[in-house]
């Protein structure tokens, strides 16, 4: 047995086939079904429309239950991996089922709002699948066999080393090093806002600035100081490289998390819109 199996390959794609079957069934019924009133396009109020709507609503409520199931560690109701696989495939099949339920009738109303919210939830979910399948590999590659903690400790060590070396160098060099160090301590060089973390780049990285400055200042130094400055530059460059790796790790971590910030609240908005949709349809029947 393989060590790792992606949720997409769970039980050789059992839920993929289930979803495809569901979609094919829905499309077939839609094509075969003729609305009772000739000359009108199909709509949500025919028997097929109600059926597709019910299937869609039940699916949405069940998909929401993944959030409950994954927190029930002692539950034996299927594995979380199976649930997630079904969640992904059945969730994607909603695009077909609910589009057919809507019969492609859209307007500025609560019904289309529910539809659009559903599409947004599915889109964020698809990004989530991509993120979960893609980013961990990049993160492992980025940190090789180190942990973020190890990288941070190494940065701290290099920082200490830089400051030690800089003590024997002119004030301007020392200032550059201290500046980079303080900035590091404030974490300003690490993408601090969510937007910066997602972008993965600092507009001005103080350590990289310090490297440039050391290169420039080093040209004026001679003798022992030049050798020290060379060592300082090496350490600062290594620190800069480590910081880049750390920043990339944080960026990937943020991207790995951020879609859920959309996916979960939007899905709750979707359930609310779904309730409003169902009530409104039968309230003004």
């Amino acid at each position: 047995m393989r060590q790792h199996q992606s949720i997409l390959e769970y039980q050789s794609g059992r839920y993929l086939w289930l979803s495809l079957g569901l979609c094919a069934l829905a499309i077939g019924a839609y094509v075969w079904h003729e609305p009772p009133t000739v000359g009108l396009s199909p709509y949500g109020g025919t028997w097929l429309g109600y059926t597709l709507g019910t299937v869609g609503a039940v699916l949405i409520l069940w998909l929401m239950l993944l959030g409950v199931r994954k927190r029930r560690y002692r539950s034996s109701m299927g594995s979380v991996q199976g649930w997630t696989s079904a969640h992904v495939y059945l969730g994607a099949s909603l695009v077909v089922i609910v589009s057919l339920h809507s019969a492609f009738e859209f307007g500025w109303n609560v019904h289309t709002l529910a539809y659009v919210l559903m599409l947004l939830v599915i889109a964020s979910g698809i990004f989530g699948v991509y993120a979960y399948l893609h980013f961990p590999e990049l993160m492992t590659k980025n940190l090789s066999d180190e942990t973020l903690e190890a990288v941070l400790l190494k940065i701290a060590d290099l920082d200490r080393k830089c400051r030690t070396i800089a003590l024997d160098l002119p004030d301007e060099v020392n200032l550059v090093v201290m500046k980079a160090s303080r900035a590091k301590a404030r974490s300003a060089q690490i993408g601090s806002s969510l937007r910066r973390q997602l972008a993965g780049e600092a507009v001005r990285c103080p350590t990289r600035d310090a490297c440039d400055a050391l290169l420039r200042l080093g040209a004026k130094l001679t003798g022992e100081q030049a050798v020290l400055n060379g060592q300082l530059l090496t350490a600062m460059t290594r620190k800069s490289l480590l910081i880049d790796r750390m920043r990339r790790d944080l960026c990937l971590r943020a991207r790995l998390r951020v879609w859920l910030l959309m996916h979960v609240p939007l899905s709750f908005a979707l359930v609310a819109a779904l309730i409003a949709h169902v009530v409104s349809v039968f309230y003004y029947w």
């Binding site: 009772p36 109020g45 709002l113 190494k154 910030l261 609310a272 409003a276 003004y284």
Partner: protein, 589 residues
């Protein structure tokens, strides 16, 4: 081969403590992995960071792809000699002088604290990671949407009858505000534009949707559509389809919120009963049908007999064996004669519209449109009128040498009365200026005073003259009998057989002549060879099928479902009569 490894640690009093171990083997692996011979537990150290190969000749360190610092220089590998200082992460490995018999001795020492400064920094980085609560966002989204799109549209109904705060200070203001807001938000529930005729209701959903969670009821429709007729009397319906038909609401066929029109074209629904119509309505007289193209029965014509007024003969085309396919209108008319391409004789040489005579002089070419004019609205043809169409040629002049006056058309009695009065006036010496009195009539001397007997005699003469003229009209000259059957004689008076002509031959069909104006008349009604007025020139179903197919579209033809030609609400009674009676104002029909 063995190596002496000394682990140096500093105790609480700051004294160095040395713990010695002997490690067997020619290869020593340094790393944080627990299987390493020299275990350096720290995250900065790689799992298998470096290898030291020990031989009789000496030892060498190798650290690919990681790197080690040997005597302050960062290298990938180096030969080791006594006194060398190797730095790996926070650890310092010192090469010491080995005791006798051993090739290598190493001292391992931790240079500083393991994680003190780093962990603080690490915590800061973690703290800077996004800390947005999914839970809070979810609550916000869920209840936000519910408030705007569920509670707000329902608010006018929910708050109906409840005492609202602040109502005493400004009575009605809050209700008004909530009602306005609620009505506006209720528009977000509208699934699509209502039909054009229903746009008059504006935002008043309750005009049709009278009660929450109850489907739109017929009562709401009938409130306006008071005179809508039922399809078939409910008492005549039986069977599953019949009962289902009875229970069908207006809105099941007439769907609104679908854009401009809401007239159903529900061939499939018609066919549910009309596939086997007797099973749903045993009294039905129509034949089974599902589609015009495939199984529509031949047309039935409604024929009239002038001699049996009030009786409508329904004769199906093609049932010629019955010999009933004639119209007994009591008229004489020869279509072939009138439509002679060379024209008809024009007694008065009537000029045409441009004031020019026909090239042949006294002949006039007639077309269908000379007599058959469409009715206003274009659906039916207007009845042919003696006054407007026939009289131009067929004059009713009774004595052309005396006067151009004509007898009235339509009543034998009026003809007789008119003639008696006319001649009496002449005999009594009161001839109008346009009349040249005939010589055979005795004339009174102007100013003569007549006695009773003279007057009686004069009137008798006038009556005799009138009688002669009547005989000429009805018998000898055949003025009336050109077109009519005339019976009787001078004794009891002449009688013209009553005339009755069908105006609508197929009353069940919604045929509109105007919509077929691209076709010529003779496409469907070819009467050019007909010399008998009893002939019928109604087209058969095959003629219609030349253009019209059924509900399934066929390229190059006209798609035609039931509703193309038939009206659904064509019954005699109002829709759901019992309900209707309550809805209608008193006295309304």
């Amino acid at each position: 081969m063995e190596t002496l490894v000394t682990y140096v640690s500093i105790n609480q009093r700051g004294q160095a403590q040395r713990e010695q171990r002997r490690v067997a083997g020619a290869l020593l692996i340094l790393g944080r992995g627990t299987q390493c011979q020299i275990h350096l537990p720290d995250p900065r150290v790689a799992l298998n960071h470096a290898r030291i190969t020990v031989t009789e000749a000496g030892a060498a360190i190798e650290a690919e792809p990681a790197r080690v610092v040997v005597n302050g220089r960062e290298v990938g590998g180096a030969r080791l000699s006594v006194g060398d200082r190797i730095e790996i992460g926070p650890y310092i490995v010192q090469v010491e002088a080995p005791p006798a018999g051993l090739p290598l001795a190493l001292a391992v020492q931790l240079s500083g604290s393991l994680t003190s400064k780093g962990s603080e920094f690490f915590r800061r980085v973690r703290l800077r990671a996004p800390q947005i609560s999914k839970r809070r966002l979810s609550y916000l989204a869920f209840f936000g949407v519910l408030l705007l799109f569920l509670a707000a549209p329902m608010s006018p109904d929910l708050l109906k009858g409840t005492a609202l705060p602040l109502t005493d200070s400004r009575p009605g203001m809050w209700e008004e505000m909530i009602r306005t807001l609620g009505t506006s938000f209720a528009q977000t529930w509208n699934p699509g534009p209502v039909s054009r005729s229903h746009q008059v209701f504006g935002k008043d959903c309750r005009a049709c949707h009278q009660f929450p969670f109850i489907q739109v009821r017929d009562l709401a429709c009938i409130a306006c559509h008071k005179t809508i007729k039922e399809h078939v009397p409910p008492v005549e319906l039986t069977g599953a389809h019949g009962i289902a038909f009875l229970e069908t609401r207006c809105a099941e066929c007439h769907l609104d919120h679908k854009g401009k029109q809401m007239t159903p074209r529900a061939q499939e629904q018609c066919a549910q009963c009309h596939r086997d119509v007797k099973s749903a309505a045993p009294k039905a007289r129509s034949e089974n049908v599902t589609d015009f193209a495939s199984d529509h029965p031949r047309f039935r014509l409604s024929l009239l007999d002038a001699d049996r007024p009030g009786v409508v003969r329904r004769v199906r085309q093609g049932d010629a064996a019955s010999g009933e396919m004639v119209e007994r209108s009591n008229l004489k008319f020869n279509h072939a004669l009138h439509l002679d391409p060379a024209g008809v004789r024009d007694p008065k040489g009537v000029r045409d519209a441009a004031g020019m005579r026909d090239a042949r002089g006294h002949r006039k070419v007639l077309t269908c449109a000379s007599c058959h004019e469409p009715e206003e609205g274009g659906r039916l043809m207007a009845p042919v009128s003696m006054e407007r169409h026939c009289r131009q040629c067929h004059s009713l002049a009774f004595e052309p040498t005396v006067t151009l006056r004509q007898v009235p058309h339509g009543s034998e009695k009026e003809v007789a009365t008119m003639l008696r009065e006319f001649y009496a006036r002449l005999v009594l010496g009161d001839a109008p200026p346009d009349v040249k009195p005939p010589r055979e009539l005795p004339r009174m001397r102007p100013g003569a005073v007549l006695g009773y007997e003279d007057r009686q005699r004069a009137l008798q003469i006038a009556d005799q003259k009138a009688q002669r003229v009547l005989r000429e009209l009805f018998e000898t000259r055949g003025v009336c009998s050109t077109c009519h059957h005339v019976t009787g004689g001078s004794g009891a008076g002449w009688e013209v057989a009553p005339v009755l002509m069908a105006r609508v031959w197929m009353p069940g069909a919604l045929f509109t002549h105007a919509k077929h104006s691209a076709q010529s008349c003779t496409t469907c009604h070819d009467v050019r060879g007909s010399s008998d007025a009893r002939d019928i020139a109604m087209p058969g179903i095959a003629k219609c099928r030349e253009c019209h197919v059924g509900a399934r579209a066929v390229l190059g033809t006209v798609t035609s479902d039931c509703a193309t030609c038939h009206k659904f609400h064509a019954g005699r009674n109002y829709w759901h009569g019992a309900v209707q009676a309550q809805m209608l104002p008193r006295g309304a029909k």
